[in-house]
């Protein structure tokens, strides 16, 4: 199992800087997801690992070896394309055999390895079909078999679930994660879907504006976002400007922080607020809008700030939301759950 390391990778197209000093480390056998909105550079980063994009600066290392100067066909990193790019003029078996054929492996070996690879994705009986004759989910499995049959060092996947409908997507995500664990191959996913990132990854790299904003395990990304962009992109977040004085915020419920005195931002997840009636220590406000979603009730509460604060509370069976205009107070459920960041990390 080979580590994948990306070292200060940068790329610019004309005036547009698409990647800036990207660093990333994926330990052998782990799954890392590149997550971000469209245009954040995640696909460019993935394509530079495969060698389709020539970076202006930086290195890509696989198993400690620098592969940056190799052409794409000698990199031994497998790439699964967004729409799978299965060759329409070749059958499923010929598609899977392609990489072995161009390497001029003996016929018998090709046949055996193709059989194994198709078996791995449970498509043994479909070798003679053309890609067009397969469903979306089957095509995805063919693409994965075609990539894995070469026993690559790294598996790269560009939004592999995009072409599938929602029902199938979840099943395939879980199946793929199981398969990767069984083979133990270092894998890099690209996605813009945070739920997918949560399901698949050991680590998530949140990208924004050509930079990796945070690289951490999924739950840590959620609980301890390092920038307000990450906080807002992963789940929802209330972002409030605050002042830090003597290790505490100047909010109605002070939050302890190691930050130095001065302006900062505080991030509170909607589920870390609760709505309580009457006048207690907290943010006084008025219910602006309420939505009952079944398991939870979502409130927008006007607390005199430029933006209403969002609150998400569990709904007791049979209960409904408070009426619009009700005066309430917002309280933090846990002051540990609120995150205080320096002003520098506060861009959205």
């Amino acid at each position: 199992m080979s580590d994948l390391e990306i070292d200060r990778l940068s790329k610019r197209y004309g005036k547009l800087q698409v990647l800036t000093d990207c660093n990333l480390m994926a330990e052998g056998g782990s799954v890392v997801t590149l997550l971000g909105p469209s245009g954040c550079g995640k696909t460019t980063l993935l394509r530079s690992i495969a060698g389709f994009v020539e970076p202006d600066a930086g290195r890509v290392m696989v198993g400690g070896r620098d592969i940056s100067m190799l052409p794409p066909n000698r990199r031994e990193v497998a790439y699964v394309f967004q729409n799978y790019a299965l060759f329409p003029h070749l059958t499923v078996a010929q598609n899977v055999a392609y990489g072995l054929t161009v390497r001029r492996r003996p016929r018998a070996e090709i046949a055996r390895r193709v059989d194994e690879a198709l078996g791995l994705v449970a498509l043994s009986d479909f070798g003679g079909r053309y890609p067009k004759q397969m469903s979306g989910g089957q095509q995805q499995r063919v693409a994965i078999a075609r990539a894995l049959v070469l026993e690559p060092k790294v598996l790269l996947l560009d939004e592999p679930f995009n072409a599938l409908d929602a029902q199938l997507r979840l099943t395939m995500q879980v199946e793929l994660r199981k398969l990767i664990d069984r083979i133990g191959i270092t894998s890099i996913f690209v996605t813009h879907d945070q739920a997918e990132a949560m399901i698949l990854s050991d680590k998530v790299a949140v990208m924004h504006g050509g930079q990796i904003e945070q690289l951490a395990p999924p739950l840590q990304i959620y609980d301890r976002p390092s920038t307000s962009f990450v906080a807002d992109f992963i789940g929802r977040a209330n972002i409030m400007p605050v002042q830090v004085r003597a290790g505490r915020t100047d909010t109605p419920q002070p939050v302890p922080t190691p930050r130095p005195d001065g302006p900062a931002v505080m991030i509170v997840r909607p589920e870390n607020f609760e709505v309580v009636p009457g006048n207690v220590a907290g943010w006084p406000g008025r219910i602006g809008f309420a939505t009952a979603l079944g398991a939870t009730i979502e409130y927008e509460v006007d607390c005199g700030m430029p933006e209403a604060l969002r609150v998400s509370m569990a709904r007791a069976p049979g209960s409904g939301p408070l009426a619009q205009g009700t005066d309430v107070t917002l309280r933090l459920r846990s002051t540990d759950g609120a995150i205080v960041l320096g002003r520098g990390a506060a861009h959205v």
């Binding site: 060698g51 020539e54 100067m69 190799l70 052409p71």
Partner: protein, 267 residues
């Protein structure tokens, strides 16, 4: 990134062939243009000097000028006939809902399958059956049959790409059928109609394979005149006529590029 030697050789071969091919595409025309400026009475390359002598000869040649006017008149008529028949037919072929639509399309495009010579001879024989002689009218008829598929194909391609939702939107906003046609559909078709008109005109103007059989033997169109000239003579005057034709077609190309964009031509 370093490529293997094999890949670099392959690339070199490909680029070499492409260059040869481009040279073949433009080289002969450039040579003809160069020769047309030859001051002397025979062909030489590079020309021994620069003169417009042979252009003067072309414009003073009564027979050639008559042929030019005949071709202009014929090509204009062919263009009108093809547009008048082709645009509505393309409409039916794309928007119609009736059985045998694919058969209709195949039939409308079928003249494409016929060599020009066959259309020319067939029209000649057909006319003879009714004692109808070779004439400008026969030329217009045979060329319009030959050119009709150009118009049908170009307009069909554009119509197929149009969003029928726009017509529905127009109807929903209260426009009647005729209003929708003239205000919404037709403006969107205009570029393809212009392209089709230009192609038809040029083909009708340049055509020899049909015209040799159906044109009036006493008032030949320009390409037929040129055909006999090329076959039996070899003066730089032919180069001058050719250069004029090349210049003319480049002007049309520029007009096409401006109206419909170069990328769409020929698709």
């Amino acid at each position: 990134m370093t490529q293997s030697l094999f890949d670099r050789i392959g690339k070199a071969v490909l680029i070499g062939l492409a260059c040869l091919s481009i040279l073949l595409l433009v080289g002969p025309s450039l040579i003809v243009i160069a020769i047309s400026f030859e001051p002397r009475g025979y062909i030489a390359f590079p020309p021994s000097g620069f003169s417009m002598h042979w252009y003067g000869e072309v414009f003073q040649n009564r027979q050639l000028m008559d042929a030019f006017l005949t071709s202009l008149r014929v090509a204009g008529l062919v263009m009108l006939v093809c547009l008048a028949l082709g645009i509505p037919a393309a409409f039916a072929a794309i928007r119609g809902r009736f059985g045998g639509k694919s058969a209709l399309n195949a039939f409308l495009l079928s003249p494409q399958m016929m060599p020009g010579m066959v259309i020319g001879i067939a029209t000649l024989f057909f006319g003879a059956y009714f004692a109808w002689r070779q004439s400008d009218l026969m030329l217009v008829v045979s060329l319009s049959v030959f050119c009709l598929p150009f118009v049908v194909r170009i307009v069909m391609a554009r119509l197929a790409a149009l969003d029928p939702g726009l017509d529905e939107a127009s109807a929903n906003l209260g426009a009647g059928r005729a209003q929708t046609f003239f205000r919404i559909t037709l403006p969107q078709l205009a570029p393809s109609a212009i392209a089709a008109a230009a192609f038809t005109f040029i083909e009708a103007f340049d055509n020899v394979t049909v015209a040799l059989f159906t044109s009036d033997v006493r008032a030949r169109p320009l390409p037929v005149e040129l055909y006999y000239l090329v076959q039996f003579e070899s003066t730089p005057m032919i180069a001058a006529i050719s250069a004029l034709q090349i210049g003319f077609s480049l002007i049309v190309l520029v007009i096409l590029a401006r109206t419909i964009g170069l990328d769409r031509i020929g698709r």
